[in-house]
Symmetry: C2
Subunit: 128 residues, 2 copies
């Protein structure tokens, strides 16, 4: 894989931040540093880095796909009030067990949806 300015920029940015940005968010942010950057490149790069196992993504209903650097397996928590997506320290522990059956697991997408206590106390909840 070639080392291009765009790829380095995207990967560096993804390493620095912990807010699991979407492709759009990355594009908006990085355009400030590299105005010629194209949306397509962001998607391509995330896809390439994803296939290379360097980047992984999180998908939740009604949300854009959000990306992070792939490291140890962990789960995610999405706050339905503020939209922040954070890492949870543990990983789902059932993976080895389900390899027994009729399928082979390649990837674990564990995600928890709820609301931060802060958010719950501030407003009166996500929909009110």
């Amino acid at each position: 894989m070639r080392q291009t300015h765009q790829r380095l920029l995207i990967l560096e940015n993804l390493k620095e931040r912990e807010d699991h940005p979407s492709a759009r968010a990355l594009y908006e942010e990085l355009r400030k540093e590299m105005p010629t950057l194209s949306r397509t490149t962001v998607y391509n790069t995330l896809s390439t880095l994803g296939k290379a196992g360097v980047v992984s993504c999180v998908n939740m209903p009604g949300q854009e796909t959000r990306y992070e650097c792939a490291d140890a397996r962990h789960c995610h928590f999405l706050c339905s009030s503020c939209g922040r997506l954070t890492d949870l320290e543990f990983s789902c522990g059932h993976v080895p067990q389900i390899n027994m059956d009729g399928y082979v697991v390649q990837e674990v997408v564990g995600c928890f949806k709820g609301i931060f206590r802060d958010c719950a106390e501030e407003g009166s909840g996500p929909s009110g």
Copy 2:
């Protein structure tokens, strides 16, 4: 909530099948029985039933949102070869524990991606 033909039809169909259809798939299927059914109604109904806690949905990268009747908490397995989405009997066991911290969990979205042994043996994998 009003009891309409459309809602009953959608809910009944969702109860019968176990393939976790997408809104589009439901629409295509149910149009045979009710040709006047509109796409918007399918989306509206799934959203309404979702808010009522009757229906839940599963989201995986690069996939349409797929729906099922909400029952006991469980995880899902998506086969990257044939696209089938099946229920896994267990649920992620960490939910009570993470209620301790700074957030309240409302929903668990546990999903495992991989390949059915059948699919793996038949072809030479999803991309070949």
